[in-house]
């Protein structure tokens, strides 16, 4: 089967087969990344615009490397150095960027739904690199790829996601993707960070205690506490958060012995994760980053409708 979508706005709505196709393609892309010359001509002549309205290092760099490995021309625009600072609207930015005839726009934006808005207004493909608290599909795919590589499957895995679920686009994409693939997702976090109705998103269980969520888990996904968003009403102190919702070696023993620990980064060391865990044997954090490039190559490849990367 082929990938039929012009855009990738989220993992919600993608079928199991489509997710599998993206993950399988990412595996192929990893093979390219292992070569001496890590470049194929698949997207030669195509232009990819990275439009970043929010600060980002790893996602933007990862998309840029992915595009370059496929031989696309890439242009990076960040809000702080663009006409956005002069008050230009997203609609006008989109029109202007589109007038330059890009093939793919990769966008990160602080507003949930911004990509939905953009995709309706431009003829080129749009890839969501994170929209507000809505979705972060490339992160969801790289998380699933990392899990699949470790366990050889996604179906039946118990994945614990711990932390600020309300503000996490990673959590939503993971939930949409993992539940579509037949995994069970257990969520834990302070009730102030647990949005209403989240269990209705799929095969999702909300646990009142982090220990319950990670007990017997195959994967423990720790979310970043977004210090810039928390204000003073969601948490008393980071110290208490670390005590009740942080992952240390002792708590990690509750998970399966072969369990892996994941984190979308950047880590607040000593808050979500102790350094023993972040840098320990069970940590898959750097594998996630590596897989990010492969997944993003797969996404760029499929929305561009290019030929298989054989060269």
């Amino acid at each position: 089967m082929g990938f039929k979508h012009k855009d990738i706005i989220g993992l919600q709505g993608l079928t199991r087969e489509e997710i599998e196709l993206l993950l399988d393609t990412a595996e192929n892309m990893k093979e390219i990344m292992g070569r001496d010359i890590k470049k194929v001509p698949t997207l030669r002549g195509k232009t990819v615009v990275n439009l970043f309205y929010e600060a980002s290092t790893r996602t933007r760099t990862s998309f840029e490397i992915a595009a370059k490995r496929l031989s696309a021309d890439t242009i990076n625009i960040s809000a702080s150095t663009s006409s956005v600072t002069k008050g230009e609207t997203l609609s006008d930015t989109a029109r202007n960027v589109l007038a330059m005839k890009p093939d793919i726009i990769v966008m990160r934006h602080a507003a949930s739904g911004a990509h939905h808005y953009l995709a309706q207004r431009v003829s080129c493909s749009v890839i969501n690199a994170g929209d507000g608290a809505h979705e972060h599909p490339s992160q969801g795919l790289l998380d699933m790829l990392t899990m699949r590589q470790k366990f050889g499957r996604l179906e039946g895995l118990k994945v614990a996601i711990v932390g600020d679920i309300t503000h996490s686009r990673v959590a939503r994409s993971d939930i949409f993707g993992l539940t579509t693939m037949g995994a069970q997702v257990c969520l834990a976090g302070p009730p102030t960070m647990m949005p209403p109705g989240i269990e209705r998103l799929g095969n999702v269980v909300v646990c009142s205690d982090m220990r319950e969520a990670i007990s017997g888990a195959d994967v423990v996904m720790m979310l970043r506490i977004q210090l810039e968003r928390q204000g003073k009403t969601l948490l008393p102190t980071l110290r208490e958060y670390a005590r009740y919702y942080g992952l240390n070696p002792e708590k990690l023993k509750l998970a399966k012995p072969e369990a892996i620990v994941m984190h979308p980064g950047p880590i607040n060391r000593g808050v979500e994760l102790s350094s023993y865990v972040a840098d320990g044997d069970q940590s898959a954090i750097l594998t996630q980053v590596e897989n990010g490039v492969a997944v993003r190559m797969a996404m760029l490849y499929h929305v561009s409708g290019g030929e298989l990367p054989t060269a």
């Binding site: 997203l90 949930s112 309300t166 209705r200």
Partner: protein, 424 residues
Amino acid sequence: MNLLIKGGRVIDPSQGIDGTFDILVENGLVKEVGSMLPAPAGTETVDAAGLIVTPGLVDMHVHLRDPGLEYKEDIVSGTKAAAAGGFTTVACMPNTKPVNDNKAVTSYIIAKAQNEGVVNVVPVGAITQGSKGEALAEMGDLKEAGCVAVSDDGHPVTNSELMRRALEYAKGMGIMVISHAEDLSLVGDGVMNEGFTATELGLKGIPWAAEDAAVARDVYLAECTASPLHVAHISTAGSVRIIRNAKARGVKVSCETAPHYFSLTDDAVRGYNTNAKMNPPLRGAAAVAAIKEGLRDGTIDAIATDHAPHHLDEKDVEFNIALNGIVGLETSLPLSLKLVEEGVLTLPALVEKMSCNPARILGLDRGTLKVGAVADLTVIDPNAAWTVTAEGLASKSKNSPWLGEPMKGGAAYTIVGGKIVYQR
């Protein structure tokens, strides 16, 4: 010009009339209601067979955006939209630029409406100076200049002491306080109803308690001060319950809801539809059911539109920065008529909520077809079939969630002071 409106189903709850009658209008006043009335010489006849004739509809909550924000709407376009929707009187909220917190602005609105408007406009003044919630506005002056109520609509009076004094002071001036009930600390930076849809869309939610807590505070302040209070645009089950209980113990409280709160749920936001973004936000199905029950049992006195025109540029943006509000004057009647089809309200009860009650709450000599009353009438075609289109809306702004949707029912004629100001 004199008018004879013949053979319509006349519904006038103020007199307990519901039957087929003729209405003779002379010199702008209702001259006679009866059967087989002859048309005096020079009288224009309106054939109302198959139509419903009611006292002119009164919308107690609109935003005409004039002065200061005329690019969204002005008194001329707003009153044309009102006439097209069957409204003969509209009460306009004070969040203009400048705010209607003084005689000069009130006088401007009244003068422009009289000279250029096509329906009656009654201004609502501000509770506090600049609607800033810091110091009381000159309510005596506002009333003297023609304001029929005071409200900081769009902004709650967050200081409870100031709201208490506003209720007391307004009572002394004989003017009604209309509460915009919202606890802003609970609203935070929420942009839609808190619930499953917001969770799925990743949008910040506003809990129902943000409205309920504020309604409860204002109801208790009204009780404490023995002052009348009207609560604007209620949208939650809790608001209905609190007001129902307050009425039962004799608190002088009335309230309104708007058609979107009984016609749509927060599912309408899906697709990040900014034309479904309003304040208070669209709620869930249980709240919609509670609003309908509140209408049915009389807890909710009035249906108002909260007609809130916004320019395309203010809606064609990311959801979280889109302005709140929708235009409602031209869709209110068909959406409200659905309540009759659904058995929530009888037609006379609907006329009470769209004409008699808002007129009574605001102290207007409207909402009746009694002989000698000003001849403001709405002739309703309950079967008129039409589709909402941007081009078809008389309002300058087109921010309606019903664009492209079919509607059933609407005004066939809108008559103000005996003059036909709109004819379908």
